[in-house]
Symmetry: C2
Subunit: 281 residues, 2 copies
């Protein structure tokens, strides 16, 4: 994560940055079906940084490390001539044969997503335009210190086979298309089923953007997008106990590649356009 590219320090507290730097890498392990084991953290520090700033950063890193049981076991601290950067590598493990790839989806699979979308982009804009974090507290929390779906996906893996998976770092529509391309399939998304974080609605709509579109392109959500067998999923849904803590929403299905990437909106089908963040577009 590089200052000025991935984050801005003027609206990102250092302990939040520490949390997020580790969390987003843990999310990458989780989204392949793995369990995080440990991490190494390298800091590139401009000369003017103070020890107190590094302490604050590490407080957030350690909170995240404890939460997801992923201790920092090494790394390096070096001088950076200009921008501050933080480079994290997380080591995870997965039982052989249990890794989940983007390419594993089957035609007819249900496309599911955890949680609710649209909060992270709202949180970033609320802060970057000078508002306090009290105005949209859930959105701001999503942006600054995202939870990653470790316990949720472990539970799901226990009751159904996940065919393909990716975490939402660039935006829902882009990630769906990543899964489709890797699996050689098309998709049909039901727009009205996309789970929306309602707190974000007034922010999006005050800017003339329907919350649905906002949610389709909101990056850095770190919710999980995955595909599963229809029968297995419905069986779980009918049998699940009321205390299951996982919010999972069916948003569409994998279809033939000949049909392409589609989104259905009030009965009509439109092309699904990738939107969100691409470093080298």
């Amino acid at each position: 994560l590089v200052e000025g590219v991935h984050f801005e320090l003027y609206y990102t507290p250092l302990n939040s940055l520490g949390w997020k730097s580790l969390a987003v890498n843990i999310s990458d392990i989780i989204s392949m079906g793995g369990l995080p084991v440990c991490s190494v953290v390298t800091l590139g520090l401009p000369e003017e940084w103070e020890v107190e700033q590094i302490d604050a950063l590490y407080e957030g890193i350690q909170q995240c490390a404890r939460t997801y049981n992923c201790p920092v076991v090494g790394g390096d601290t070096i001088k950076s001539p200009s921008s501050f950067f933080i480079s994290v590598a997380v080591i995870g493990e997965v039982k052989e044969g249990y890794e989940i790839k983007r390419s594993g989806a089957n035609e007819g699979d249900l496309i599911c997503v955890t949680g609710e979308l649209g909060g992270s982009s709202t949180g970033r804009e609320v802060l970057s335009t000078g508002n306090t974090k009290n105005e949209y507290p859930i959105c701001v929390k999503r942006f600054l210190e995202p939870n990653v779906r470790l316990k949720e996906i472990r539970m799901l893996q226990g009751v159904m086979k996940i065919h393909s998976m990716i975490d939402i770092s660039d935006g829902l529509s882009s990630e769906i298309i990543h899964l489709c391309r890797a699996s050689g399939l098309g998709c049909l998304i039901q727009e009205e089923n996309i789970p929306l974080l309602e707190e974000a609605r007034p922010w999006a709509e005050a800017r003339g953007i329907p919350l649905l579109n906002w949610a389709l392109s909101s990056g850095e959500e770190y919710e999980l997008l995955f595909t599963v067998d229809r029968g297995e999923f419905y069986q779980w849904q009918t049998s699940k106990r009321t205390d299951d803590f996982v919010k999972v929403t069916i948003i569409g299905e994998m279809i033939s590649p000949d049909e392409g990437f589609l989104i259905e909106r009030v009965g009509a089908k439109f092309p699904l356009i990738p939107s969100g963040w691409d470093h080298f577009s």
Copy 2:
């Protein structure tokens, strides 16, 4: 490794930089008694970089990965607003109880070093002052594409117990003092025993610096400095086969901490001064 801090692209070919970026991290694993397993590589690229440059960099990374059997299994590529940087994490393994630390030296241990010193600093200066690499080819090779002592130390570990170890990245004198401090001991170095890379002599002496001093502070050598039991070492030396490929030199011994850090020069003892590279001195 950050452009402008750890390397300069105007005299460092990209494939050499790729080799070195991985090699120096493998050296860290080796110097704890470990075996490299795999690595992750993150590149922070300024916007103007071309694909051909990344290919050249990766050619060097892959050569090193093959040489030391340490494949690149992941990483990230991101945009950097100013300097180019490369962040490498190497994952290694060591049998429980066989890890080697800086703190494991005993009083009376012999202090040993692999290879010959003084080449890397010479190579860097030869290149940075505009000379071609043909003038001091061994020195330049040491600087640009250092070999790390994987097979050498595996052989030694098979015939003796290494009590403490460190690789020479900052300069011999600094590294000796690191071992002493971590082990709570002093040292007595025999200056005349320090193994010198003779090719470097005219370069050092033309600058009025005795090669010995040059070798004491030459960083980025990636030779191994370690301490062993005197008896075990002499037993290996007398029994070793002529085809043993490891050059190891005894340069001194670990002594009581009360005596401090000493270097003996033509019969007189002087304080050993740490010299070399410190990022945040």
